[in-house]
């Protein structure tokens, strides 16, 4: 339940992050994004549909999911196991694209 408290803080930072993502000028094609998203399935299940203890990510609302990814990247969620280490490997534009990609997959 700790996580829920973090999301509003991260949401507040989103406006800034969005601007930074645009400013970075990183152009991601649909194919690039599908490649980026490929590895998520390795833990979160095919297309983000999880059956196990790892949370599913398919169909999660874009804004909340992006906020969560950014919070992982900022390491602002205490007691995170691995998503902080992974989220730090992606640019803001990539995290944005991933959040949108999985939000558009049916639950």
């Amino acid at each position: 339940m700790r996580r829920k408290n973090v999301v509003p803080n991260a949401l507040a930072a989103l406006a800034l992050i969005g601007a930074a993502g645009t400013a970075s000028g990183q152009h991601l094609t649909a194919e690039d994004i599908s490649v980026l998203a490929g590895v998520c399935a390795n833990c979160h299940g095919p297309d983000g549909h999880s059956r196990g203890a790892i949370p599913g990510i398919a169909g999660k609302p874009y804004v909340a999911q992006l906020a969560l990814l950014q919070a992982f990247k900022a390491d602002s969620i205490p007691d995170t196991t691995v998503m902080n280490r992974l989220a730090k490997g992606y640019s803001d534009a990539e995290l944005d694209a991933l959040a949108r990609h999985f939000s558009e997959i049916g639950k």
Partner: protein
Amino acid sequence: MVSRRSILKSLGAAALATPALSMPSILRASESAGRVVIVGGGFGGATAARYLKRRNPAIDVTLVEPVDRFYTCPFSNLYLGGLREFESIGHGYDDLTGSLGVTHVRARAQDVDGVAHTVTLESGDVLSYDKLVLAPGVDVNFGALEGYDEAAAELAPHAWKAGPQTRLLKAQLEALEDGGVFVLSAPADPFRCPPGPYERVSMIAHYLKTHKPRSKILVLDAKDAFSKQGLFQAGWTALYGDLIEWVGLSGGGRVVRVDPRTLEVETEFGDVHKAGVLNVVPPQRAGVIAERARVTNEAGWVPVKPRTFESRTVADIHVVGDATIAAPMPKSGFCANAQGKVVAAAIAAELAGESAPNPSWANTCYSLIGPDYGISVAGVYAVANDEIVAIEGSGGVSPAEASPDFRRREAQFGAAWYAAIAEDIWGTRA
């Protein structure tokens, strides 16, 4: 996912890309969006098969794999530790050959002719391809360690390719007397699954502590540092006290000779240790078909172009998984899967006459030290200046200080990872 237009476009491209523009090959290309042969149905190969079909169902995908059921090295240590049934680490190909339409040829690939674009099977049958994916995993480099040959492996198993070897090691552990010594010889880098020997030792320690508490474990290592070392050693002390002794290279840990009949090993410093059960994790190289395809280097591994994992020496042969030189990516099942997806994307694009998308890979390797004690190492990788690089600031290992609940969650996530990736690759639904 694939528009009619892109399929039509790919038809023309495939015909042009066909090496010899003879009539049969043109006819063949007009029937499909290209012909891909994949050798090896493990983490890399089966992933490539699935994701090629997902990207373009019109691509003709043939998977050459001699077995009907593939047993994974990941989680085979849990079987050795008594935490899993053997069948729970086996996966079939029905899901790939069913609605996805992958053709499974139950045969061993004998040879590859990269110029003619053909794969010859043991039966003598010949398959031709527009693109070949080699996912041969590793083979034991018999002969690299004195005394350790195929016959020796029946007495002192490596169990580094899951299957009969794994069951043999398990049977030997069960026959070990209480008070007997389990000796594991660990190789120098590079080898399949860098944390694997140490997870194995952990799981066998769990088994021995539970069933044969007077027994000991000796790890003789050909290197001075290993994956997640601090976490493993802290976990060993916490869970198993002094049950496990680890001797590194500079302490004389490198095994230079094995006597499989007496189960004795001799180290570089001349010490001889006698084992009750001897597990030699041996020196390795790319699976032999890679050498026959002439894509290996003198060390026995496959240099690849980072963006597409196409061989650096033979065109239209892509190689994925443990056989490749992909450092800083480790030789892990997770990375093989990630590479399989990138290769599928690259091949689908090239067959359609388009350029390959930008690659991106990640890794998360969970290791189990005890049933409720998991640790992990992670990384994110991309290409910069034609080299694979770890993204700065990403990745790393679990924290050295963590609560029992944290370790328990990583143990649970490890199991969830295995279920997720098995479904992602073979369609296995546990």
